[in-house]
């Protein structure tokens, strides 16, 4: 990697100050994407600001309405939380199946969402549960957050502080992993929420998206059969050596069916 100035602030204020001062600063959360990118010399930031020492960004709070996860909370902590498992078991299970053990013990929810990798798991849960993303400046509804390939609603100098997931009546996540990377080639999160069913897809498109036709069908009839006949258009979906857009479109239906069945 190229040289850069490394900062490890202890507070949000210091982090923001460091970011503001940097010519081309990058925030480091778990580093699951940034560190490999740096090692391959694909990025050359002037400053790297490590958020690991900011205590207020970590931790899980569960109340009757749902679950709030601090941005720097690691996947393994969400996976291991008995409170999360009780409130939103599908969320704990999703976290338990992100990457591998090393990734789960380094990677963070805030980092995953800010990066908006098209094949990340968390975006499906955030969108599927209608979560709210809190930053140092505001709150952003999940529906407004994911903008495109590695693109979010976050503005320059904005840092995610936590994510709040409302408790659904039921939910499940099913993923078909890329055989090589084990990222989601297609992951579908379905939830019966207070505002009706939500179906969110990751892996298939440039960023996580909802499938309204499936949501409408599930509103009428919550069953795997209800979504079995609904296909998303392949046009605009991702294609690579592991899966064409058509294959991914097909898998969205298969994974949606299985997720609805798993949610019960």
């Amino acid at each position: 990697m190229y040289d850069f100035a490394y900062h490890k602030p202890k507070s949000m204020a210091d982090a923001l100050a460091a970011l503001k001062k940097a010519a081309d600063g990058k925030l480091l959360a778990g580093g699951m994407t940034l560190i490999p990118t740096l090692k391959q010399r694909l990025a050359q930031p002037s400053d790297v600001i490590d958020l690991a020492a900011i205590g207020e960004l970590r931790g899980i709070k569960v109340d009757g309405n749902g679950v709030t996860v601090g941005a720097m909370t690691k996947h393994a902590e969400v996976a291991a939380s008995a409170d999360v498992a009780k409130a939103i078991p599908a969320l704990a299970k999703l976290a338990a199946n992100i990457g591998d053990g090393q990734v789960r013990n380094r990677g963070t929810i805030g980092g995953s969402l800010a990066n908006s990798d098209p094949a990340a798991d968390y975006p499906a849960a955030v969108l599927g549960l209608g979560a709210t993303i809190t930053t140092n400046e505001r709150t952003i509804a999940a529906d407004d957050f994911f903008k495109g390939l590695f693109e979010t609603a976050l503005k320059e100098g904005e840092i995610i502080t936590s994510v709040t997931f409302p408790k659904p009546a039921k939910a499940a996540y099913m993923k078909f992993p890329n055989p090589a990377s084990r990222y989601a080639m297609v992951g579908v999160f379905v939830a019966q929420t207070s505002s009706g069913p939500r179906v969110a897809v990751t892996g298939a498109g440039p960023c996580a998206f909802r499938v309204k036709a499936m949501e409408d069908a599930l509103a009428k009839n919550w069953s795997a059969d209800a979504v079995a006949g609904i296909k998303v258009p392949a046009n605009g979906l991702n294609g690579d050596i592991h899966g064409s857009p058509e294959y991914r479109a097909h898998l969205v239906t298969v994974m949606a069916k299985r997720a609805v069945a798993a949610a019960g």
Partner: protein, 789 residues
């Protein structure tokens, strides 16, 4: 002192403590004095002319010791890299081997081809400087696909190799084959792709070199499976350093699978530049460099036809293969799709007439060479696929069809129509045992049960043979090999009674340190912990041909046995003297020399001590010391055989393939350490499953970029891709080596692709998709096969 180990015992690996506690010493662990670091600038293009290179900024960058380009290497009269096996084509002409400079001179021919070498005080400085090299490329069109490379209009990879054809080779009696096809009751036709594989040894290639200007001696530490061969090639062909002034050390090496047999540009340049700069130099490949520049494996496109009579007896086989050599001929590339492929096409069968034609072609891709199995997996995959296809077409059970055509147990030695003489084998009991272990009889019931829950189940058989224990030197010499393939061993006792086994074999995961010690412990009655196996250093071991082709135990172990016989013979003379008995009356049992019919004995340790402290010793007749060496040249190849049966369940909704059962029954001859053999079989099957289902090497057909150039896109087999293997053995000892062993290193990888794919095709046959799937049968490809209309 520990225990004497016996042949056949499941002795724990003595090297495990070292490796598991991080105490291994690999090339990158070495700390050389005043060491510098090399970085290789590589071509980003598959095919381009280098208009100019400007290294001036790089040379002036901080920490830079030297920058070398192709011109520098050419000016220094460094020889090109060689191919050590000259295959003669069907007209008797030698293969076409275009020049292979260590650094490209004016044209780059694959993504990763070496363009410049930078040496600096730190690895980061070398890389920083390399980014300052300005190369002006004229990008040219590339040819990637081997079938496309033979087209008349194809882009030429080398101006002096018309039609991109290195050779057009044949084996077998074409007229006999044509005659047999003319009277066949049934002909099965098959088009098959054998996919390209990236070796992916856990330890990437590495080199560290230094030059001693006091003695004029060079030392190269490198990740080699055969350090003596590396020394020989670098001395005699490439760098001209006299052999006695070059020491090559291959210390602990983390896997090779063939890819570390070869002599590459990078290691060569590190050694050369160490002399040129007078500084120690180290280089360790990054993983992406391994993907781009390690010699890849397989990459065949084949059309084959099998002629059968009405009862399913094989009458003849004809095979037409295009084999991708990549951009240059790697060290042993030419032998792989010829003498390690065409000669194996009889398999376990009595097929009386076989003809095989192979065209070896150049493309703008990484060189292709031997990879675990080397030619034999290609032969087995082809043969076992066409046999199962014939069974399906003729509605004969595939196990039954195989049995009808097996060479009978009483027919050995058996001369095949493709040059080999099989020394031993007994195939039917192997298949029977495999069928029992796999509950073959219950397969159709399980298929029906799976269908009831929406899944497609299938079962597949692969009965393989391999020729290994490479190799009788006269035979391979007559076929074009540039080296002999014997092995050496030295048993060097110390006065205190412990000993070192110096072997020319090399262990890079095969457990020689345990197995070789075990055979000597058994033979000489010496506790295992009194034996040290020394390998991998040309300054210690007399000579060696290294480890590949499942040769270590069959050839290297045989040399050790020969040396042990010499130890016993000498010990008898010493013991006869000490006991004042006639030498003819001395027997060696349980580690001691005894006078027949008495209780007088001299333990081996006492004979050794006497040999080193010869105060009471027949010095008038016998030299002191106990240090014997032996060279062993095998009289034939060895022929391990076996049957694997794989059962899979396909999810038609996703195309996912799950292996639900995997049986392998092997005949490796005698087995020294069953635990280690099982480890070899497990690893081999994992690699075979990887080829069948997972490992997909993709070059972009236009740009020649390696799309599967990292683990994000190249699927390595992982534990959850594999079931628990169900293994069995049959033993017909090899009749021509002292241990009766055949070799086990490659069998798993040779047989598994056909077992898995025959199972996948059996599953897909339920929906008529059996002929629409190639390796690797990834979920997408299986789904597409099912849904193609």
């Amino acid at each position: 002192m520990g225990n004497v180990a016996r042949i056949g015992e499941r002795v724990r690996r003595t090297e495990d403590r070292r490796f598991l506690t991080g105490a291994g010493r690999y090339v990158d662990d070495l700390q050389l004095a005043r060491c510098t670091y090399a970085y290789f600038l590589r071509s980003p293009h598959a095919h381009a002319r280098i208009r100019s290179i400007d290294t001036s900024k790089a040379a002036a960058a901080p920490g830079v010791v030297a920058v070398f380009t192709g011109k520098d290497v050419a000016d220094a009269k460094v020889g090109g890299l060689i191919c050590g096996w000259v295959v003669k084509d069907k007209h008797g002409e030698p293969h076409k081997a275009p020049g292979h400079p260590a650094i490209a001179l004016d044209t780059v021919r694959y993504v990763g081809d070496t363009v410049a070498m930078v040496i600096a005080d730190t690895a980061a400085q070398a890389r920083d400087a390399a980014e300052q090299i300005e190369v002006d490329y004229e990008v040219l069109p590339a040819v990637i696909d081997p079938a496309a490379a033979v087209a008349a209009s194809a882009v030429q990879v080398h101006a002096d190799v018309p039609g991109n054809l290195s050779y057009d080779w044949e084996l077998g009696d074409k007229a006999a084959v044509d005659a047999a096809f003319a009277r066949a009751a049934h002909i099965t036709k098959l088009d098959l792709v054998n996919n390209r594989l990236v070796p992916n040894a856990m330890e990437p290639r590495a080199a560290a070199a230094e030059y001693d200007r006091g003695t004029g001696t060079y030392t190269l530490y490198t990740t080699s499976q055969n350090p003596h061969v590396t020394r020989l090639v670098l001395s005699a062909f490439v760098l001209g350093i006299p052999e006695h002034k070059l020491r090559v050390v291959a210390p602990d090496v983390g896997g090779g699978f063939g890819s570390k047999i070869f002599i590459y540009a990078d290691e060569t340049l590190v050694l050369w530049a160490a002399g040129k700069t007078g500084r120690a130099i180290k280089w360790t490949a990054e993983r992406s460099e391994s993907f781009m520049t390690d010699a890849h494996g397989r990459d065949h496109v084949t059309h084959a036809e099998l002629a059968l009579d009405k009862d399913g007896k094989f009458l003849a086989l004809k095979v037409d293969t295009i084999a991708n050599m990549g951009a240059y001929l790697s060290t042993f590339a030419t032998a792989v799709p010829t003498y390690l492929y065409g000669t194996l096409l009889a398999g376990q069968y009595t097929t009386p007439a076989i003809h095989c034609n192979v065209r070896a072609v150049f493309t703008h891709t990484a060189p292709v060479d031997a990879y675990r199995g080397a030619g034999r997996p290609e032969a087995t995959y082809l043969l076992e696929t066409i046999v199962s296809k014939a069974a399906r077409e003729m509605n004969i059970d595939p196990a039954e069809l195989r049995k009808r055509n097996f060479i009978a147990a009483g027919a050995f030695p058996y001369q095949t129509p493709v040059a080999l003489t099989y020394d031993s084998g007994n195939y039917t009991p192997i298949l029977d045992q495999a069928m029992k272990l796999a509950d073959y009889a219950g397969a159709s019931e399980r298929k029906a049960a799976a269908k009831a829950k929406g899944k497609l189940r299938g079962i597949g058989i692969s009965s393989y043979i391999e020729a290994c224990g490479l190799a009788p030197s006269a035979v391979v010499g007559s076929l074009g090999a540039g080296v002999g393939q014997w092995e050496s061993a030295q048993l060097r006792f110390n006065p205190t009674g412990n000993l070192q086994i110096l072997t020319g074999s090399h262990s890079h995961g095969q457990s020689h340190e345990t197995t070789f010690a075990q055979i000597v412990s058994d033979k000489l009655g010496i506790p295992l912990d009194q034996i040290e196996v020394v390998h991998g250093d040309t300054a210690q071991v007399p000579f060696g041909m290294g480890s590949y082709g499942s040769r270590s135990l069959a050839v290297g172990g045989s040399a050790i046995m020969k040396a042990a016989d010499k130890i016993i013979a000498k010990g008898k003379k010493i013991a006869a003297h000490l006991m004042e008995a006639a030498e003819a009356d001395i027997v060696f049992e349980n580690g001691a020399f005894k006078v027949t019919g008495t209780d007088k004995n001299v333990p081996l340790g006492q004979a050794v001590f006497s040999a080193y402290v010869p105060h009471n010793y027949p010095l008038d007749k016998l030299e002191p010391g106990m240090d014997e060496n032996a060279f062993y040249d095998p009289s034939n190849f060895t022929y391990p055989s076996g049957t694997q049966i794989c059962e899979v369940e396909v999810d038609p909704d996703t195309g996912g393939v799950e292996i639900v059962n995997f049986v392998a029954v092997d005949d490796f001859g005698n087995v020294v350490n069953p635990m280690i053999v099982e480890g070899q079989v497990h690893g081999g099957i994992a690699q075979g499953v990887g080829q069948a289902l997972l490992e997909y090497t993709v070059y972009d057909k236009e740009s020649g970029q390696l799309l599967s150039g990292s683990y994000m896109d190249y699927t390595m087999p992982r534990a959850d891709n594999l079931p628990s293997f169900n293994l069995g053995y049959q033993v017909t000892p090899c009749p021509h080596n002292p241990l009766g062993v055949k070799g086990c290193g490659e069998a798993g990888a040779i047989a598994a692709p056909a077992a898995v794919m025959n199972a996948v095709r059996d599953a897909l046959a339920q929906v008529g998709a059996q002929d629409r799937i190639e390796m690797p049968a990834t979920p997408q490809r299986v789904w597409q096969a099912i849904h193609a209309h």
